[in-house]
């Protein structure tokens, strides 16, 4: 297992959510955390459907999709795209 790449200031990892940088001081994030970083103040219940895809992740899971309840390991520069919009 390779160690996650780190920034100079020791324990922060920068991830990109919907084209915006976010600094986190941990090595995993949950589906719900990503949604609330993407859409602050947005309630997550009811008829609202979020989808998340990610790329540039750690070697054991460099890309994929997340569903509610998922937790994913992050690395510096990992890119998440989160939407509450349906393509039709």
């Amino acid at each position: 297992m390779s160690k996650p790449h780190r920034d100079c200031d020791d324990d922060t990892i920068t991830i990109i959510i919907n084209g915006r940088k976010h600094q986190l001081s941990k090595h995993e994030v949950s589906f719900a955390e990503i949604v609330s970083l993407a859409f602050p103040g947005q309630s997550q219940g009811g008829n609202i459907c979020f989808t998340i895809v990610f790329k540039r992740g750690p070697a054991d899971q460099p890309e994929g999709t997340l569903v509610e309840g998922d937790i994913v390991k992050i690395r510096d520069g990992m890119v998440f795209n989160v939407t509450r919009t349906d393509k039709s």
Partner: protein, 118 residues
């Protein structure tokens, strides 16, 4: 106010606050973000991935394919962005929306499974 036209700007990072009437496109991070064309002010994100939206840039205008269905927003707006024009589309029934969401989940699961290989 419902928009009928929308411009675009190419950026590396999506700005923290965005103006209505503009699609912000980040090729670097594979996403496009705009303020809902109905005027409700909600941010609409259309990821650019093989299983989400395709962006077409003809040198002057952009198009997004397929259409933008904001069933998760209160406004429930539905439109196409085609060559810089906002083409309003019909509302969908709950049934259509649910079926479409199930199809999308299946498509994404299948796509990433097949990329990982056996």
């Amino acid at each position: 106010m419902k928009l009928t036209r929308i411009s675009h700007v190419f950026v590396e990072e999506i700005p923290a606050s965005i103006d209505p009437g503009v699609v912000y496109v980040s090729i670097e991070y594979g996403t496009a973000v705009h303020s809902c064309c109905c005027g409700c002010g909600n941010e609409v994100v259309t990821p650019l991935t093989p299983v989400d939206w395709r962006l077409i840039y003809d040198g002057e205008t952009i198009s997004l394919d397929p259409s933008v269905g904001n069933w998760s927003l209160e406004c429930r707006s539905h439109y196409w962005i085609r060559r810089g024009e906002v083409v309003w589309a019909r509302a969908w029934s709950e049934e259509e929306i649910e079926e479409n969401r199930a199809d999308d989940r299946a498509l994404k699961a299948r796509f990433f499974r097949s990329k990982r290989g056996p």
